[in-house]
Symmetry: C2
Subunit: 146 residues, 2 copies
């Protein structure tokens, strides 16, 4: 296992529209994707791009808003009504090998491997096994080597 | 105001030694700095580097452990004994201009501008004014353009 790109930090918000206004008007973000629904994950999603030395390919801010009353982030927002840092997501080259690795390390995986917001397979690791941080592992999109 | 690099995410931990072992042995981090004390901030600090397409210059994970019983992160760790995501830090070119900008936006700044873990001036913004996220603003180190 080799540490991959920090693809994004997941930020829960009660309103993606308000958060987009915040990142655009207060923080000065220039690249924000259109929000879209991920009903299987129970969230609406959009991404705020951040810069690196070589472009806007830095760690993204993934804004997530509950999709409906069964959203898995409703509990987080009940405790954090203004929103807040919800998870982090690291890239791996091979999701199956990564799943096997973390299982071998005794880390609890939350549910099956599924398709995430970037269209590649992902899974989540239990925060209690990951230094208190809900951690998403995501296969790097094809053609985006690192 | 233009969104700068996401310099680091701040992760509180009850033990930097344990967290270093986690990032090295479980996550596969290859570049982790030696821990050092920042007594004025009340924390011990070290940085885990993450990759981008062009090197190990991605968003860092800043591990912070309480320096003593007066540490400002003791309250966070009392609520989150395993540790967790504590803050995010964005770079700006001019810390004085950024301070003026956020003040003009009605955002509460926590204390004076001071020298942060990277040796450049920083300040923190109140999480209640920043979408629930304790936000650090940091002047980009000289010679590290972006």
């Amino acid at each position: 296992m080799k540490l991959g790109r920090l693809n994004h930090i997941g930020v829960a918000t009660p309103s993606i529209a308000d958060s987009i206004a915040h990142y655009r008007d207060v923080m000065g973000a220039t690249h924000i994707t259109e929000p879209f629904d991920l009903p299987e994950q129970g969230v609406k999603v959009c991404f705020v791009d951040t810069p690196t030395e070589s472009g806007m390919n830095g760690t993204q801010i993934e804004l997530i808003e509950p999709y409906d009353e069964n959203s898995p982030i409703n509990g987080f927002l009940a405790k954090n009504p203004a929103g807040g840092q919800h998870h982090v997501c690291f890239e791996v080259e091979d999701i199956a090998a990564a799943r096997e690795w973390f299982e071998g390390q005794g880390k609890r995986i939350l549910g099956p491997t599924r398709i995430g917001a970037h269209g590649t397979p992902i899974f989540f690791l239990h925060p209690k096994d990951m230094q208190g941080i809900l951690t998403e592992i995501m296969e790097t999109p094809q053609g985006e080597g690192h």
